[in-house]
């Protein structure tokens, strides 16, 4: 790609429409570059051509984010650029969120590479850092001359499909994708050094910043159990003998659904565990120990609940990536809802 067509997003201030008094203006599109856009063009030594500049007031964008997004997607689609740039937004929060949101939308929905730049404290960083490259900028326009070359340079690497360097080399916020690299020292040595720093009260850097886990709110009780259909679901890997769908022993790539409408008891002859994360002997001897079908059938007969679901769902929850587990949970939940299930016995190992 020789010449690069760019659409550039700016707020009212950088779009030279005015200050806070113009923060309420709706999005508008102009031919060619405005202000910062000219700097981007010159920094790229003429390779980048800003074909359109989109300008929107900060308040308008904050109050009508979805509407602005769909307007901008429409304009960008018509303009068909090679690249979408926004900002830099520096420490301006409303502007930062708009930049992040617009870049994310353009890249995800139109497949056009998009990036922006802002200060670490800008809430726009968290709005889009996982999806797009956001370059780290200072808190004011004084940093403009430093950050624009970085935006141009990283954009060219993305467009030219040149390998992207590490966050500290390129100056972007880590997107949270963890890759393996080789350190200079082995793990044990790094641990001893980290401990010494911690003991001395010196600054140290953890290698694994803590992720944030969801909290799942427990569902309310089932009002009338005697009319409820109950399903069995397990992450304990109980599968028909031979593991016909080959669920992996570890980091399962799937969950499966099996018919048990005509089964009252899971036996060693017909079921087994595919799970690699626990002692399988007891589960293989009597798979009901992990997927309690025999007990459920008894309770069904006693009328504690109306009926047991004819299918059960199973995966292997053994060092399975949380993202996969979350997806399986959502999908299984949706399928159960569709089948009119009111309650689930979810067994874990």
């Amino acid at each position: 790609m020789e010449n690069v067509k760019v659409v550039h997003y700016l707020n009212q201030f950088f779009g030279q429409m005015g200050g806070e008094d113009k923060a309420g203006i709706p999005p508008q599109i102009k031919e060619g570059p405005v202000g910062v856009g000219q700097l981007i063009e010159s920094e790229s030594r003429g390779r980048f051509k800003v074909i359109h500049t989109i300008i929107c007031g900060d308040n308008y964008a904050a109050e009508h984010l979805e509407e602005v997004e769909s307007t901008i997607l429409k304009w960008v689609l018509e303009s068909r650029p090679d690249l979408f740039l926004a900002g830099p937004a520096f420490a301006a929060g409303r502007y930062g969120i708009a930049c992040g949101t617009m870049c994310k939308a353009v890249q995800q929905k139109l497949g056009i590479p998009a990036l922006t730049a802002m200060h670490p404290s800008n809430p726009g960083v968290d709005a889009a850092r996982k999806e797009i490259y956001i370059l780290e900028a200072g808190d004011s326009t004084r940093d403009m001359r430093r950050v624009i070359p970085k935006m141009v340079s990283l954009s060219q690497k993305i467009l030219d499909k040149v390998p992207i360097g590490l966050p500290q080399e390129e100056g972007y916020f880590p997107r949270g994708i963890r890759i393996n690299i080789r350190a200079e020292k082995r793990g044990s040595k790094r641990a001893v050094e980290m401990l010494l720093k911690k003991l001395r009260g010196e600054p140290f850097e953890t290698e694994l910043p803590l992720p944030e886990f969801d909290r799942v709110v427990p569902a309310p009780p089932i009002p009338d159990l005697s009319n409820a259909i109950i399903a069995l679901v397990t992450e304990g890997g109980i599968v028909p003998k031979g593991n016909p769908d080959r669920i992996e022993a570890h980091n399962a790539s799937k969950y499966c659904e099996y018919f048990i409408g005509d089964v009252n008891d899971l036996t060693e002859e017909s079921y087994q565990t595919a799970h690699g994360g626990y002692d399988p002997v007891y589960a293989n001897e009597d798979p009901d120990r992990v997927l309690p079908l025999d007990a459920a059938r008894l309770l069904e007969k006693e009328g504690l609940f109306a009926k047991l679901c004819d299918d059960y769902y199973v995966t292997v929850g053994n060092v399975t990536a949380v993202a996969s587990a979350t997806r399986y949970g959502h999908e299984i939940g949706e399928r159960l809802l569709k089948e009119g299930i009111q309650g689930v016995i979810l067994t874990s190992t």
Binding site: L199, F204, D279
Partner: protein
């Protein structure tokens, strides 16, 4: 003051010969004698001894454990105490090491959790075992042997072979002698006033088949935490029967040469005082986890520790223990560093740990076990190549029709080992 003299005999090659002996840095093995010795265990139907050297186009699979040949000369204690001879405390006297050699236990799959070692190619970059002269025991159990007995049989065979070969080292001159003093706690307390006192908590998983460790021969399932000196580890006080996942299984070899122990010892008396090791069983239920973590805290306080390094064994539920201990330690003012690995998904975008706590602010990671690799075919497979489709890290179709293997590094022995023996780590991009 007790001391351990670790005498290293450097080995440059391993071959079969008439006698089991070391001469000119070459280990000769009397194959028939070793086989006879191992087959004293009547559960062992057959055992083949194979040699795999660094750089050779050989693939060893499925691997259960790796051990370093070590044996004692003089005295009444033995290496691998509780397994062979006596169970009296090891960690003092003279221990000979065949430096450069490893015993690898292999053969019919006990269960999914066993791993792979390649002696060359890209896999070799992930594991120190690819750089060893490996004496591989390919074992077949008698018919209808239960899984527990099968596991015990291969574990004991590994210990016996490592001791048997280690004995050859006691009969020759050594190349290097390292002296380790075993001080009492009051000696340690007085030794270097002003330096912070540090303990190392070595988690040992204890949760059933291929998820157990043995301390002085006792399955840690039935044990509370135990305090060990660094030198007891060197003498094989912890034998691994664990294979939670090959990448982060702390093998017996890793425990004998525990790098956290080595690196703490190298700072001992300079920047810190290394108080010793607490071997901490990791059980599956919350009650057990609370019981054991609070016992470890009690020991750390009795020892007056100011800092701690905690290494995980396995992944998933052991992270509860790791985080619980960080919480307990930090609340008592014991500065804590955790050593772990991650399962962040093949794309690296997932959360890598199953449990977290805000107190865990100092973590060393040994890599993402979900990294996907493609490995070329080797000229020789030692063991059973087809196991790749079912072991941890592999999947149906891992063995491609063209002979290449696609798998996660979770299946490579020791690739993300949580005692920090390798240089692999993750960063966020």
């Amino acid at each position: 003051m007790d001391e351990l003299l670790l005498r290293k005999v450097r080995i440059q090659d391993v071959i079969f010969g008439e006698n089991t002996e070391v001469a000119n840095h070459v280990l000769r093995i009397n194959r028939e004698e070793l086989v006879r010795y191992l087959k004293e265990d009547q559960r062992l139907k057959s055992v083949e001894i194979k040699i795999a050297r660094p750089g050779e186009k050989k693939r060893i699979i499925p691997v259960k454990d790796v051990l370093e040949p070590r044996a004692k000369s003089g005295g009444t204690s033995t290496t691998f105490p509780g397994f062979l001879g006596t169970a009296e405390p090891a960690g003092a006297g003279i221990t000979s090491v065949l430096d450069g050699v490893a015993v690898v236990t292999c053969g019919k799959l006990v269960n999914f959790q066993e791993g792979l070692i390649d002696m060359s190619g890209p896999c070799a970059d992930f594991s120190l075992f690819s750089k060893k002269l490996n004496v591989v025991l390919v074992m077949k159990p008698v018919e209808k042997l239960g899984k527990y007995e099968h596991e015990e049989m291969v574990r004991i065979a590994g210990v016996k072979a490592a001791h048997y070969l280690g004995l050859a080292g006691t009969r020759v001159n050594f190349d290097e002698e390292v002296r380790f003093q075993v001080a009492t706690w009051s000696e340690l307390e007085r030794s270097h006033p002003g330096l912070p006192k540090v303990i190392y908590v070595d988690m040992v998983i204890a949760q059933g088949l291929l998820h157990d460790n043995y301390v002085y021969g006792v399955n840690a399932q039935g044990s509370l935490p135990i305090v060990l000196s660094a030198t007891e580890l060197m003498d094989g006080a912890i034998v691994s029967g664990n294979c939670a996942a090959p990448c982060h299984k702390n093998t017996t070899y890793h425990q004998q040469n525990n790098p956290i122990v080595e690196d703490l010892l190298s700072e001992h008396g300079k920047t810190l005082i290394f108080l010793g090791v607490i071997a901490m069983p990791v059980r599956a239920t919350l009650l057990d986890k609370e019981r054991i973590c609070t016992q470890v805290l009690k020991m750390a306080k009795l020892l007056n520790a100011q800092g701690a390094i905690v290494s995980e064994d396995g992944g998933g539920n052991p992270e509860t223990d790791l985080m619980m201990l960080a919480r307990l330690f930090e609340k008592e003012g014991i500065k804590t560093v955790l050593v772990t690995d991650e399962y962040a998904g093949r794309d690296g975008a997932s959360q890598g740990l199953a449990d977290i706590t805000p107190e865990a602010d100092a973590i060393v990671t040994n890599g993402n076990g979900n990294q996907y690799v493609v490995l070329p075919p080797m000229e020789e497979t030692i063991g059973h190549l087809e196991a790749i489709d079912v072991i941890t890290g592999g999947h149906a179709g891992s063995l491609r029709p063209d002979g290449w293997i696609e798998m996660e590094i979770a299946g490579i022995m020791g690739s993300t080992v949580e005692v920090g023996a390798e240089k692999l780590m993750t960063i966020a991009i």
